[in-house]
């Protein structure tokens, strides 16, 4: 059982190796190793690796692991396998903020920060609607999330209809399908602190997530402060999702399917499940981004589309097939 816990980190490491090696120009593995070992060298391979690929791989790793960590926590808290980090309105809020910013001609470099704030704001609004007593009601959270997301999606569609400019449509579309095109060190520096806080809070939530597995009332009976745990989980998920959305837009499915795959590999003990989800999410996003960059190079496919085409068949094969056999 224990060796299975090594699989997700190994997958992430392997994906990172592939992610650094492939792209518009496939670098031979020896050059990758050489450039990695000599960070101060000044050749082309070095520039490609350190200025283009490394930040992309790290961005993908952050997006994948943040969404997976957010998803696994929300699924645990709501005890619902269909829950996705976007359920709490983060992505729709970010999309509206981006759409408004584009409509007003605000510079591209501000988009990650605006997306982050929009996502955070929408999630807080959904959480406020889902409040009952001191805590959060699962059904209310799901309903509020779906309702607010639908309203915000309609607002984005409205803006998209009203704005006739092609560049608006294209930039917005890139956000809506999820893409890491053009992301570099500065975007990463913006998102890392929020994701790091979200991840640290997630580590603090491990105990609560384990206790919640026996049901809310029983968890309260063994001394879990349910209200505090719910806000802590929601806060962590919101920060992680907003950080991911600010980098890559709406990258779908990772937050939904990675927790299920991780559960198949390491079981549902939160101590093993959270790190496994983070590594597996990173592996999946890095691999998908590597494909997105290289398959029709020099053009790029949006990350969200590659993830859907590559991730969902894997999910069906590993998860749904095994489910049937049991």
């Amino acid at each position: 059982m224990f060796y299975r816990r090594l699989l997700p980190p190994l997958a992430a490491l392997l994906a990172a190796g592939v992610g650094l090696a492939v792209g518009g120009d496939a670098l031979p593995f020896s050059q990758v190793v050489h450039a990695l070992a000599n960070p101060h060298a000044r050749d082309v391979a070095h520039t490609i690796l350190w200025q283009l690929r490394m930040p992309r791989v790290l961005c993908a790793a952050l997006v994948g692991s943040a969404l997976a960590l957010a998803g696994v926590q929300l699924q645990g808290m709501l005890r619902n396998p269909l829950v996705d980090p976007y359920l709490i309105g983060t992505s729709a809020g970010a999309a509206v903020a981006i759409a408004v910013a584009l409509a007003f001609g605000i510079g591209l470099s501000f988009l990650p920060a605006l997306g982050f704030l929009g996502g955070l704001g929408a999630s807080l609004f959904v959480a406020a609607l889902a409040r009952r007593g001191g805590g959060i009601d699962a059904t209310r959270l799901i309903l509020a999330g779906v309702a607010i997301s639908a309203l915000l999606a309609a607002s984005v569609a409205l803006l998209s209809v009203l704005a006739r400019s092609i560049s608006f449509q294209l930039t917005l579309q890139a956000w809506l399908v999820g893409s890491l095109a053009g992301r570099g060190w500065s975007d990463l520096r913006f998102a890392v602190p929020y994701a790091a806080v979200g991840a640290i809070v997630a580590i603090g939530n491990i105990r609560a997530l384990d206790a919640l597995r026996i049901g809310d009332v029983r968890a309260r009976g063994i001394g879990l402060d349910i209200e505090r745990a719910q806000w802590s989980i929601l806060g962590s998920a919101t920060l992680l999702t907003a950080a991911a959305v600010s980098l890559a837009g709406m990258v779908g499915f990772v937050g939904l399917i990675v927790p299920h795959l991780a559960r198949r590999i390491v079981g549902s003990d939160a101590r093993a499940l959270l790190p496994a989800s983070a590594f597996l999410g990173a592996a999946m996003a890095i691999a998908a981004d590597a494909i997105a960059r290289s398959i029709i190079a020099p053009r790029e496919l949006p990350l969200g589309i590659v993830l859907a085409f590559a991730g969902i068949p894997i999910f069906i094969i590993i998860y749904l097939r095994r489910e049937q056999r049991r």
């Binding site: 206790a211 597995r213 026996i214 029983r218 009976g221 063994i222 001394g223 402060d225 101590r271």
Partner: protein, 259 residues
Amino acid sequence: MIRAHEVVLQRGGRRVLDGIDFELRSGEFVALLGPNGVGKTTLLRACAGFDIPAAGTIDLEGTPVHRLAVAQRARHIAMLSSDEILADELRVRDVVAIGRFPHRPWWKFSPTEEDERAIANAVTATHIEAYLDRIFTHLSSGEQQRVWIAMALAQGAPLLLLDEPTTHLDVRVAHNVLGLLRERTKMGTSVLCVLHDINEAAAVADRIMLLGCGRMLALAPPVEILASPLLDEAYGIAMHRARTADGRIIVVPAPYHPE
């Protein structure tokens, strides 16, 4: 151990119980009886500190239970509710281990020696050694109930609150489960337990608390409760009493009288 004074309890803004006054002694087994909807679970939740009484106080050794920090409360009171199903796939061993939750600080992920000892004792007391490595949801209701009790015992709390621990259990398994709880009282654990079977309650409890008509009708040894007309009043039907060969009273509802 726990003491309720002039307690008034509400549920959904409606007053359900009034003037609840009792003291549960150390090592005592009190069965909580009363018709559906009378407020048995509400009272149990208030004793567990989940809900705050609308008036009056429930004290645990002098401190109102709802004022205690959640983890501190859980070290003194183990509450086992019956109303939830388990969706997750947990091994029996893990379920029992979750009982150690209030004893572990948030930064500690692995059990201490004391945790291991408490878990081992709880497993032995409930006789669940044989299925420790099985998935909880694959067990029968009786086995599951034993595992829940093992979890509550692992919690190491001197007061056990149980909401209908024998529901869905056959006569033999119910008998064993109650026997196991009775056994714990010898070590000083107090038990307050909601039951539906009057005779089952009479067989196991030191005292029976009878709730009815929005208040506590009686708190007395089983012999007195069973003989009392308050029982008929509480449930709103006529009861017949009979004596067994060994002299115990048993109570059954009067036969049906079709119109």
